[in-house]
Amino acid sequence: MATINLKLIKNPFSKENPITVQVLGICSALAVTAKLQPAVVMALSVMVVVSLANVIISLLRNTIPSRIRIIVQLVIVSLLVILVDQVLKALVYDVSKQLSVFVGLIITNCIVMGRLEAFAMSHKPFDSFLDGIGNGLGYAAILITLGFIRELFGSGTLWGFKVIPQIFYDWGYQNNSLMIMPPMALILVGLIIWFQRSRNKDLCEE
């Protein structure tokens, strides 16, 4: 039994974060984070897909001809995504409606392909699984932060519940509509990257 390599889970949180450092999966990070709930469900789905795809590709890695490896990865990823979509539709219909188009978008999420190519093709299944979980968590951390900030300031709610009291609105407080728009998500991602780089000197280029 392999020992759990904690680095594989911890690193994607900080200096190897898929969004802020590897700059992968930006597209979905901007698209699904206007509200907290879809952000969380999206993060979970990506985590499931990336860790399972990592395991499968890692198991097959010695049999995959390198000339068609990208196609093989795509087949596995789309297989998993469609499977996840079908299962969600059958078992948790409400959640699947929430995600609608986003589930399909996991196929094009660069994190999945990126991890398969960079990690699973050259590592053992268990390590690959941890790597998938770690990257899923790193992705989730950013998505949830964005979803939290954007829903709070953009709609005055969290998880659909009103959190900013009515009295604020009576005093003239207004929801920031820019927060709901994708450009604001990009600005927020930029701010997070800035913050992270100013704290962690390893990330700065010479």
């Binding site: 879809p38 001809p65 000339r67 093989v72 079908q86 539709k89 709609s155």
Partner: protein
């Protein structure tokens, strides 16, 4: 290195396996998915008349309140009728009509179009629930509009969408938006006016509701959807009123 032969065989096996797994999953899960879709439709119809339901009791409540279901044609004639779960006229089951297909037939004035209408009996009063269907900004939007016995006054609405922007167009599903419709009317005297979703609507105007800021295209979609779909039912409304 792998030979070409190996690559061909490898890809064939991989794709066949993937296809087989997906087929089994799709066929195996289909009954559950269909059931979910039916239950969701019932919940939406119930929601339009202001009855909240869960996925578990939707079927039961639907049977209790929606005692009559009709299918009407574009001339306003009732061609299919189900009362208390029994087919008493025609062969069409209004609930299983494909609304998307029927509305597109109706749009082309095709005589074969069959439009479903659900009649809810609540506290001894009849309410008519009309399904509507149209296009938002990104994809389909649909809903149900419940009319009072006079076939004029709106008692409730329900909207759903395929993929409108969260926080903008998707706000059509919120209570704030839906509640605006209550008490509005779709006829001015005998003239069909529908209900317009416009910016800075006059609250006192019975044929207008406020649009969603940042969701103009979706709001326009709702306007058009109501106008088109309710329009197909006018002959039926007139026949009932007589």
């Amino acid at each position: 290195m792998f030979s070409n032969r190996y690559i061909y065989i490898y890809s064939i096996i991989l794709v066949v396996c993937a296809a087989a797994i997906l087929t089994f999953a799709a066929v195996g899960l289909k009954p559950m998915q269909d059931r979910n879709v039916r239950v969701e439709k019932m919940q939406q119809l119930l929601d339009a008349v202001g009855i909240s339901s869960t996925t578990k009791d939707a079927q039961e409540k639907f049977d209790e309140y929606f005692t009559e279901q009709y299918a009407v044609n574009l001339k306003g004639e009732v061609v299919g009728k189900i009362v208390n779960g029994k087919q008493i006229l025609g062969k069409v089951n209004p609930f299983s009509l494909d609304e998307k297909k029927q509305f597109s037939l109706a749009k082309n004035k095709d005589e074969n179009a069959l439009l479903p209408i659900y009649i809810c009996t609540k506290q001894g009063k009849k309410q008519y629930v009309i399904p509507v269907r149209g296009n938002g900004l990104w994809g389909a939007i649909w809903g149900n509009i419940a009319l009072d016995e006079d076939l004029k006054t709106v008692v409730g609405v329900n909207f759903s969408h395929k993929g409108e922007t969260p926080g903008l167009g998707a706000e059509i599903t919120t209570d704030n938006f839906k509640n605006q419709f209550k008490g509005k009317t779709i006829f001015d005297g005998d003239k069909f006016t529908s209900i317009s979703v416009i910016k800075r609507a006059d609250k006192a105007n019975l044929h207008q509701v406020d649009a969603i800021s940042g969701g103009t295209m979706t709001s326009n979609g709702v306007s058009d959807m109501l106008k088109d779909c309710l329009g197909y039912y006018i002959p039926y409304f007139n026949s009932v009123k007589k």
